[in-house]
Each structure stands twice: as C-alpha cells, then as structure tokens.
Point group: C2
Chain length 335, copies 2
C-alpha cells in the first residue's frame, strides 16, 4: 500500500477531492489560493485556511511569537495574490504539553502583531492539545467574483513580473538549519525574511484595483513552483529573461560556492507575488507600486508554448517543476 | 512558570484574548459558539473553526472515516445551536507519516459523508504533515445578526429543554476506553453515538425560524458545562426537575453500579441542543420538532438566582461545573 510520504501533498489532495462534490457554480475552482462562497449577485465570501505546523514550518531560531505571526502572514499573502482584502481570522491552536503560560502569551502576541499589521481582527478560534504546535488560521474577506485574480487568466504576451528579489529565504533557511555563520549584516538580511515574512497585501490590492493582472499567485512554494501553477491553470508557458536574484544572494552564493539561480528558483517560504500583467497597464502598475516603495520587476513574458524556460548565460534552459511540497520535502527540510 | 496542563483550555483562551483587539461592533461576542463578520445591514458571514485531534478526539475503535465525518459534525452542531444553516467548509489536515493511500481515501470518504448529510460543500483546504491526526474544519454560513441565537438571552421563567436523552456517550466512551463488554444490542446503542454523532441541524433551524429560543448551545462539552455557559452569558440560574437520562444508561448503570445522573450531567461528545424556550412558544416548538421525529424534552426552568440546581430523589442539589476541558480532561480521558 502506498504511504503518504511517497504520495506527496498534491496527490493526497487529489485523492480526497475525488470523494467530494463540487459546489455548483463555484466562484473559484478548487486548487486556487482562496475559496469563495456566493452571497448574492457577484458578491462572495472569500475564505482561506492555511495551517502552520511546528515541525515543518517553524525552523530553529523562530520564536513562538514569530511562528504565530507567520501563521497570519501566510494567509494574508494568499489574499494579497487574489487582490482581496482580508477582514477577519479565526485561529485553531494545537498546543503540545509542556508549553508554559509565557509561551501562550508569546503566541497571543504574535497573532495580535500579525493581525494588526494587516488590519485584520481575530474573531474566534479553538484550542486543543496536540503533539505538534499547530496554528491553523482561517481567514475571511468579502469580494466580487469578477474581480478576484485567479491563477488561470494569463495570456501569451502578458508581462511576467514579481514584487521582489528571490533567494534570501533559501539562504536564510540554510543558515538556520545548517548553522552557517556569514557576516552579521548579511545574516540579518537573509534570516529576517524567514523569521518575519511580510505579505504584499497593499501591492496585491493596488494591482487588482487597477485591473492590471491576468493571473496571480504568491511564491510561498518557490518561484519555479508558482510559475508551473500559473502555467497549468492558464495553459501558457513562460520565457524568463532574468531570474530576479537578490544581491545578497549573489554575494553569499559566491562565497559559499552555491548556485544563486537555483536558490532563487527552487526555494520557498518567500511571500512575493508572481503576476502576469496586461502590457497596456504595465507602466501604470509599475508607477503605482513605486509610490508605495515596491519595485515591480519584469522577469519575462507568457508564451504560447507550454514550457517554462529561463535564460542563463545567454542560453534558455527548462525550469524544473520543483519547490516545497509537504511530505515529500519535509524530511530534507526541517528534520 | 505555570504550564498549560494546569492552566486548562479556558484560561489559555483568556490569556490569548488579552492580546487581541475586539472587532468594533462585533455581531457576536468572543466565546459564543460561532463568530460573525458584518456584510452589510444585518447580514453577516457566520464562521466557526473546530479542530479534531486524533489523540484527544478519536477514541479507540473509531475509524479514520468516522473521525473525518465527526470533524464535520462537530462544526455543524454549533451552527445548529445558533440556528444558522452552514453552507460550506474548508478542511485543514495534519497527517502523520505512516498513513497510507487507503487511509487518505477513508478520510476523503468521511468528509464527504459528513458534508452530504448536512448539505454542505467542501470548497477548499490545506494538507500538512503532523505528528497527530488533525482534521480542522472551518465552516461558513450566512445569517442575520438579529436572528442568531446567542448564549446570552435566557430570562428567568424560560423553559429549559434539550433535544434528546443524555449519558449514552459517557458510557460509549467507557466501553471503548475500558473495554467493557455489555450485551451486543446495548453496546451498539451506547457506542454508536460516539462513533457516528449526529448534529441537530434541522431541529436548530426550525426552533430559530419559530423565534422560540432565547439562548442555545450544543452539549459537546457535557450537559452541566453547557448549562454553566448559558448561565454565565445570560446571568440566570437553572432549576432542573429531572435529568434526562437515557433508558439504556439507567439499565447499564444499574448493572455496573454507576451513577446515571453523573454520567448524564458530566459527559461530553454529545451533540444535543440545550435551549431556553419562550414559554408562550413551547407548545409550538414541541409540535414542530415532533413532526420531524425529535422529542423536545423540558427539564427545568431558568431562575433568577445564579445557581444551577437539580432535583435528585426529591432534593435539590447543586450541579458542579465539570465537563470536558482540553488539557485538563485529556489525560484522564484518552490517554
């Protein structure tokens, strides 16, 4: 009998989905970043659940306060990608015996910080005993079904863009897990985004408001993985002219003889937006994000052919479908 | 430093709540069975999260299919108590390594069964690796803030009623945990409600539609505990004339020298509704539930004095505030 480690997260989800009836006239298909439930007309309730598990999502060096905050940020990031403002959250906790009242306070503080940063109220929850630390967040917003940015709308010719540079969290995790000790200022820049990730909520809301995006996803499972998700949902390919490698990653990679492209494409735990932009709204989009201090970086174009290729040293090579996947990835990552 | 086992679930929740800002004009206060988020006017999104954890919520003898189904039922029961129809659910799974594809199918089947029984669609979810089995369900419905039955509306003179007899699950759990072997037909009647609990959704919706209830809660943490919750939220007491002990519980208790009143008051995992009914709508309420095969059982009255007393052998005695509480109860229950 096949065990779940070899099945992997995606196959597990497919297996379960086979038993479930789809809601008729479902506003957003299964597998997109959020779900939606019709209210009336085009109005929908937008909902997302995303569970943080201590053993796989909390690297050494991350405090309980940071872990609780991250559970909120993870969910906000998916709302950001869909261009929907989250309003409220409910939090289910699984707490291992042995935690203290102090730990519980840290968790309360982290939840509160995350919620305040994004203007969300926590309106309920549930507390349980569990062997792992579990912080499972259900986030709720209201949206218009016509305006939610799906993964499926990219068309050949659209500009492929991201809201930031990549590779920092790959290295940050490496530092935390393998105990590497780069110079302190470099360490901070690389570890900070792992411990205190930020969701691109303002950016996502602005881009959605402009009507500039044809598809969008966040990069929490890695840039390459996100591109494959859009590619499959939209039935397009991508030609990437330049991998958006963060300068610190170039620097660190050189010193430790690592491949910066590899680190940037196949990481994870990065909460940038990966979007396809209507070419006629590119300038406007870039400008509007610049106003809030975010650089929208063009990295390539959507193409008709269903392949994802990237130019490295003047030659196009195929991007692999690799990234973070629960069960399959967990062992090598945090064990 | 105080550890969470001695804090207990309620204190943990209080500790966390101290860090959170309350949503202004929150339609339902923290601590009621569901949460609500305003849409516009009196329209609200009703949401509930309730996490099932293998070690504390799945007794020996319960299959994965039954456990997954129970995770749905637990949430439906809270909607039932509030008189709100649930529409959709999202399910976060934590799966221990070692489960097989077959186990995943069982979980899919159980979720599907639970959802179909109550006319709910599962519209999304999240899958993770965890040491415990976790089935965390976020359930969503739409409601009118004026019509949601809170815990807080009971007034002295209201009729205290329940939708069924109590004590079966206390004994069912005892049978599963301690391996008692009563006659097969008795065993089935007592174990069945533990393995295949049913939520009183139709009953709750009918009573809410009638406008008959002043307060309502489900009895998942035990009858006594539920009464204390209503008592505190409504600032009333209760005088119970007769504990609604199930006939099989009387029978079994006699044979095993157990106290049937004790089993019925201080159990848990029972999904009956505990409601206070406007006296002028009592007859109508009883009739309407009889039409769908449910007996609404009057067990006492709400009183002005803030105590909960029960008549046993002709004498009133105080009901203790005891029932199922995570962390505090878990060790003695399922360990």
């Amino acid at each position: 009998m096949v065990n779940i480690e070899s099945l992997g997260e995606r196959k597990i989800i497919e297996t379960i989905l086979r038993f479930l009836d789809a809601m008729p006239n479902m506003p957003i298909p299964f597998g997109d970043d959020v779900s939606a439930i019709p209210i009336e007309g085009d109005r929908v309730v937008v909902v997302k659940v995303d569970m943080l598990v201590g053993r796989t999502d909390v690297p050494p060096g991350m405090s309980l306060r940071q872990a609780a905050r991250k559970a909120i940020v993870m969910n906000v990031s998916d709302f950001a990608a869909k261009g929907v403002k989250p309003l409220a959250a409910l939090v289910s906790l699984g707490l291992p015996r042995g935690l203290t009242e102090w730990d519980v306070k840290e968790i309360g503080l982290g939840l509160s910080e995350g919620a305040k940063e994004y203007g969300i109220y926590i309106v309920g929850g549930d507390t349980n005993e569990a062997q792992d630390l579990i912080v499972d967040c259900a986030m709720i917003g209201l949206g218009d079904r016509r305006k939610i940015i799906r993964r499926s709308g990219a068309r050949p010719g659209d500009i492929l863009a991201v809201t930031g540079y990549f590779g920092r969290t790959s290295l940050g995790l490496k530092i935390l897990l393998e105990g590497l000790s780069p110079p302190e200022n470099l360490r901070k820049t690389l570890v900070e985004p792992v411990l205190m990730p930020r969701a691109r909520l303002k950016e996502g809301l602005i881009l959605a408001e402009l009507g500039a995006l044809t598809a969008s996803i966040d990069s929490s499972d890695g840039l390459a993985w996100s591109l494959y998700e859009i590619s499959e949902a939209s039935q397009v390919g991508f030609r990437i002219e330049k991998v958006p490698v963060a300068p610190e990653v170039e620097e660190f990679a050189k010193e430790y003889e690592l491949n910066p492209i590899e680190l940037s494409l196949y990481g994870g735990e990065e909460y940038e937006l990966v979007v396809t932009v209507k070419p006629e709204l590119w300038k406007k989009s870039e400008e509007k994000l610049r106003e809030i201090g975010c650089q929208l970086i063009e990295i390539g174009r959507a193409i008709e052919e269903r392949r994802i290729e990237v130019r490295v040293n003047g030659k196009y090579q195929i991007v692999e479908r690799r990234g973070w996947e629960h069960f399959k990835s967990a062992r090598q990552r945090l064990n």
